[in-house]
Symmetry: C2
Subunit: 239 residues, 2 copies
DNA sequence: CGCCGTTAAATTGCATGCACTTTTGCGAAG
DNA sequence: CTTCGCAAAAGTGCATGCAATTTAACGGCG
């Protein structure tokens, strides 16, 4: 669901391929909201959206509802749905929460990971040495996701994992640029080393602290990037 | 739907007070699921539910969707919606996550609360001395919610607060019995004292640790209670 | 007796049409 | 000029009807 969300439909999609209309609208609209094409606080007229996607109001209603659940929009009582602006402060707050969630996972992982899991984590980290200087930042991003996921799983706490994954998903639009920042993979690798060491040693508090710092450093990189992007007022291809 | 379906609707309560059908169904169904009247894993037939509440499938669909979002049901691809069983292990995992969330709030609160907020927290705690031995457990429950909420707010991290509140809401059905356990308020008060002391002192790690322990002790009380209740197999009146 | 294709049933997603509620624009009364 | 009230407009919730997809049941074939 990442990069190429190619829509080969020049006109309003006649996607009668039942079962994807809502999903499609959510994908398109969320991308547009995140990228700033809908000014924050602007209305999302259900009628027009229905026409644009050539669907009826029922699926639009569902899509808008999901956007609200995702925090990208909000619905006033009887005044329609408007786009919710994600200020830099909001973004930082979300990363902050993410840092705490991942720290909690790391804390529990340090206590609960099996020996095999610790070895796997360590091996995966070592295996990423090569990618540090890779020109293809997406490669490191893929590894990075897997690495963090391993820590989530190690916590053995399903609900915590669920919360962490959903928060990560919610932050995804703002994160996918972080590795384009110069030398970010190197820094990331160094921080991962400390995390692996702490978890391997079973030092819960140290692991938590290391992860917290790591995520917060990502936060600063990303939020600065987003802030800069919004300052330049980019609005590339409307569709 | 077969032919023998009365299309007259004078009998069902004229609850056409638009705007509460979904909410009502969610409330009733969630209560029934939590109380075990729907055996875990049993199907929730949309059709029958629609008839039972005298509504069409559209709002039922919405209600079931919300139940899934609440974790009380799950939807298999094309095999209908079934009630999700919340095992004692699941419950413990949720409390565990709650403990980490609240600990994170406490950590941040210890660092960020204003002096006024610390005093308010302390005052509220002191004010609860009397309620310790109150025979009306609901009174202590109300105070307890307010006390914990104050700590959430002190974190100044909106998204973290949001996560914490929604998790608390999700646990509510299992928590509302905790203060019926003998001498629970006394223990709670003692634990609160440590929390207040740590936050007042600005000792983040100590505050986090104190809250973590406090929530986990609630977890054990509640999950034991639920486990005991499910063993006795209560399933009073089907309707 | 087991395997496979066919058909019936259930589920889902969506379109469309109302009925009701709340906002809001606008003109009249104070 | 402000305030009140009224009526049009917008928003919302729900009913009902299809069409498409999938699962599950059933009977023939190997």
């Amino acid at each position: 669901m990442s990069s190429s969300h190619s829509e080969e439909d020049p006109l309003p999609t006649r996607s009668l391929r039942t079962g994807q209309a809502v999903e499609h609208m959510v994908a398109v609209l969320s991308e547009e909201i995140v990228s700033g094409q809908w000014p924050p606080g602007s209305r999302l007229p259900a009628q027009q959206i229905a026409q644009r996607f050539s669907v009826s109001r029922t699926p639009v209603r569902e899509a808008l509802s999901q956007l609200c659940a995702m925090g990208l929009a909000e619905s006033r009582p009887h005044r329609g749905v408007i786009t919710a602006q994600v200020s830099q402060a909001d973004l930082l707050a979300m990363f902050e929460a993410m840092a705490e969630l991942e720290a909690a996972c790391a804390r529990l992982s340090a206590q609960r990971m099996t020996l095999a899991e610790r070895h796997q984590l360590s091996a995966m980290h070592e295996g990423s040495r090569d990618l540090r200087a890779s020109t293809r930042s997406s490669e490191y991003a893929v590894f990075n996701d897997a690495f963090h996921s391993l820590i989530y799983q190690g916590s053995k706490s399903d609900y915590l994992i669920e919360l962490t994954l959903s928060t990560r998903a919610r932050l995804a639009p703002f994160r996918h640029t972080q590795f384009r920042v110069a030398r970010r993979p190197e820094h990331s690798f160094a921080e991962h080393s400390e995390i692996v060491a702490a978890i391997s040693a079973g030092d819960a508090e140290r692991a938590a602290q290391a992860v917290r710092q790591h995520v917060l450093s990502v936060a600063h990189v990303s939020s600065d990037y987003v802030a800069a992007r919004s300052r330049t007022g980019e609005s590339p291809c409307p569709e």
